[in-house]
Symmetry: C3
Subunit: 362 residues, 3 copies
């Protein structure tokens, strides 16, 4: 994380939507299952197009997705053994990014190659390290919910939202926005219980009280593990804790006995040069109920329910982005202390975008 | 109206398409019937998004359509009694614009509210006063054609045209543009009879001569009241008078006896930040013929006819706007004196847009 | 061609995609068959909209496609005898561009007219001379493949590609890009044989060697004239020569006896103000085989084959343009000497675009 005393201008005085995400972390760009052996796909990290290549043998590697010759995407090319050949004139690049063949040129005078990115696979995702490659080894991958825990079943999701990544951190951290989901989740009121903060992270804890209407089925299946125990009394006093461990975010639900019953991991990856579009990667791990097959029965309904919730969030965050654009800057009046702290964390952890370097997106 | 001697730069030397409409007038933003009790809708006046709210009881009110918290539209919110609650975190605003509740905050420390606009209903429209609210009381609503006269039947229309509002004033005032409608209206030739001008208004009077082709049915029903008197001789010598009473426009047709047989009221409301899109509100009042039910029989045909005419006008005005954009400014060569005077009226009555304040529309 | 020693800044140091095409040449804007007698159509040469008018009698003429009055397209107007009338208020313009009638104005005080362009028809195309009209007489029309030679059958094509015209010259000149068409044409490898260059032109010659897969039918019909002679041995040693004779381009295939068997003529006409869209006009002349009707039988297949090839080219050139836009300039690393010379020819023959004059395209 950059030293705030050293950075100029003062990030805390910067428009939060002009703070780029810090590239010195591991970011997923694709699901592992979407990249077959002998294939390549093209993704973006902010203004950087990146080709992910799974060669005939060996691990995935990541190259700048522009041929050194005429800058067309290498991800449209042909994987031949350990190398990828540009689709246009056949220039070939290996794992190191070096140009190893130009079919119509002598071997002695090969041109320069392309940039590479450290690359790893974990939890069904392909991660790259877009920042200073020298730091990649010492920066750990994040904890990936309960993806490796057989007691949990984990759902993947990866929607694109046309907004700055910071809106997404704020959205999840401020559970008072349950008002937005009142049609999906009934009249839930969040009660703020406390917070925790430290180097590079901030956490909020809430309990939820229901007023009035019936609890929807799918929500009951998320928020209460005792759905197969109809005799149990309402309300269930689960604790919901939301934590931004820069640049990742998690949400955990513990039941009143302190047992984890749900965990969400999400990371918000800018996928456009102007920073105003974000590719989310999320893992939602739900504790399997005691009746073993029940989780499979309710799984589709759970998908529909969480998609609806997410659609509401997507729409409102895109409207926030739209207002920012109309007003030419951030006019938020934040009154909730934990969100103010979160905003500061996102500012000091990120990279202030130079105004003059703003790309013109046509 | 601003004092032209006092304004800088000289409005008469300004590009007419860089003159914003003067906000110190009443402008309709919606039809009354489109806003049900207990609902809210979002509209725009130029760069200002405005929420119209019809509370459970009492009259409609108008608020800035951005929550003070995170700037999302209040018009997506929930009307509760006399207040509207933002859909995101439930902040509530009353008629005065004050924030009267943040559900998760103590009452003692409520944040500031949002801007309000004077608001009135008349002639089936909801008007707001977007300028200096102190002037609203002393500025009258416009005359609304014959909307309250039972001898007339009145049609509503509200098309959006992607052009600056000034093109629309010029289009209607210059009746030589009947050439554009030659396929709909036959070979009509307008004859300019004279003009009238004064403080804030200008009027042109025309008669029409027909050359050659048959008069279409629907037009006969507009331009001649004696359609149920087949023995009458052509041509009918109606007088058409078009008046811009800033910022409104009207067109009246009197028959040769001097009786009003048709009246059009229209107002052009900019509905985008760059001023290049206009929401029209129009009332077309047609004198009911002596055979009482005849007007109802011909009413649908009249609608089709006027829509076709308007489509031709819409297309040509959008092409004018497009040429202005391509050329980077106004290159009109106006030879018709009444239109030159109209242009001056629109310039001195409007507000010269500051070049540097031009919004970037993405 | 402009004198490079005299131009400032040095065109050779200019971004090739900021070099506008030189207007002092003849450019086609339409196919003759697309402009019926008594009609007008609107086209563009770069930032210039141009109305082509075919009057009731006499030859086609070309006017600036903006009425002098309100700048709407004359090409939407009505052709009356030798003149075209603007669709809006009926202003009329003749072949000379002079305004010859304003229906509601005295003849004595007619306003100025519009710009005209020298105009000719040849080879089924309507050409205009967009530059200095005084030079038009002395600049010849280009050679139009074998369009007038009955021994050949000629196909027309006119796709739009969303890229700068210079990409299209480079694409065709560099035959190493056969790699792009490997799925359509099999494993063809071009062998560079030599080059020729002179005042305003550059030419590359290649032979083709096939490795492995079967030659597709349609290609055989283009590259070998002896398809009706099954006893002949492979490989056919045709010579392909590609020449840019600024601003035109041609591709000729001669068989081993030195006879011409195919000729392509193409010209790339910028059709947007920003120069990033190009209307191609092409003629593809194929020598008729000895069995007379065979060419008609294979003609549809030939169309499908060449369209597929062109689609691959279109896609890759638009990706090149897209990379240029993302990177804010030309980052090509050209290693092929003939293409480097071509780039220099395009630079010194064109007009360096002034950066500040860049149009904002909305």
């Amino acid at each position: 994380m950059p030293d705030p005393t050293n950075s100029s201008p003062d990030p805390l005085k910067t428009d939060l939507r002009r703070v780029d995400i810090n590239p010195d972390f591991w970011y997923p760009l694709a699901w592992s299952k979407d990249l077959k052996r002998g294939k390549t796909i093209g993704r973006r990290f902010g203004r950087h197009p990146i080709a992910l290549v799974r060669p005939s043998e060996g691990s995935v590697f990541a190259l700048e997705d522009r041929c050194a010759h005429r800058q067309v995407p290498l991800s449209l090319g042909k994987v031949s053994g350990e190398a990828v050949q540009c689709c246009y004139h056949g220039w070939a690049y290996g794992r190191s990014g070096r140009c190893i063949d130009v079919p119509y040129l002598g071997k002695g005078k090969l041109p320069n190659g392309v940039r590479t990115y450290p690359c790893r696979e974990a939890g069904g995702m392909i991660f790259i390290f877009p920042g200073d490659a020298a730091k990649a080894e010492s920066v750990p991958l994040p904890a990936l919910a309960q993806v490796d825990n057989p007691a949990f079943k984990t759902r993947h999701f990866s929607p694109v939202v046309k907004c700055h990544y910071t809106f997404m951190h704020e959205n999840l951290m401020d559970m008072n926005h349950q008002f937005l989901h009142r049609r999906q989740m009934g009249q839930i009121k969040a009660r703020f219980l406390g917070q925790d903060a430290g180097e590079g992270f901030i956490e909020a804890r809430y309990s939820f009280a229901r007023s009035g209407t019936q609890q929807p089925l799918a929500e009951r299946l998320i928020f209460g593990k005792h759905h197969d125990d109809p005799g149990r009394e309402q309300p269930v006093e689960e604790i919901v804790s939301i934590r931004t461990t820069y640049p990742y975010q998690s949400l955990k639900i513990h039941d009143k006995d302190g047992d984890l019953i749900m965990e969400l991991f999400s990371v918000y990856v800018p996928d456009s040069a102007d920073g105003m579009s974000t590719q989310t990667f999320g893992l939602l791990s739900v504790l399997r109920p005691k009746t073993p097959f029940l989780i499979d029965v309710i799984w589709p309904a759970l998908g529909v329910f969480t998609n609806r919730i997410f659609e509401e969030d997507r729409e409102i965050m895109e409207l926030e982005q739209s207002a920012w654009r109309d007003l030419g800057g951030d006019h938020n009046v934040e009154v909730f202390p934990i969100v103010r702290k979160l905003r500061d964390l996102l500012k000091v952890s990120g990279i202030v975008r130079e105004q003059t370097a703003d790309p013109v997106v046509v």
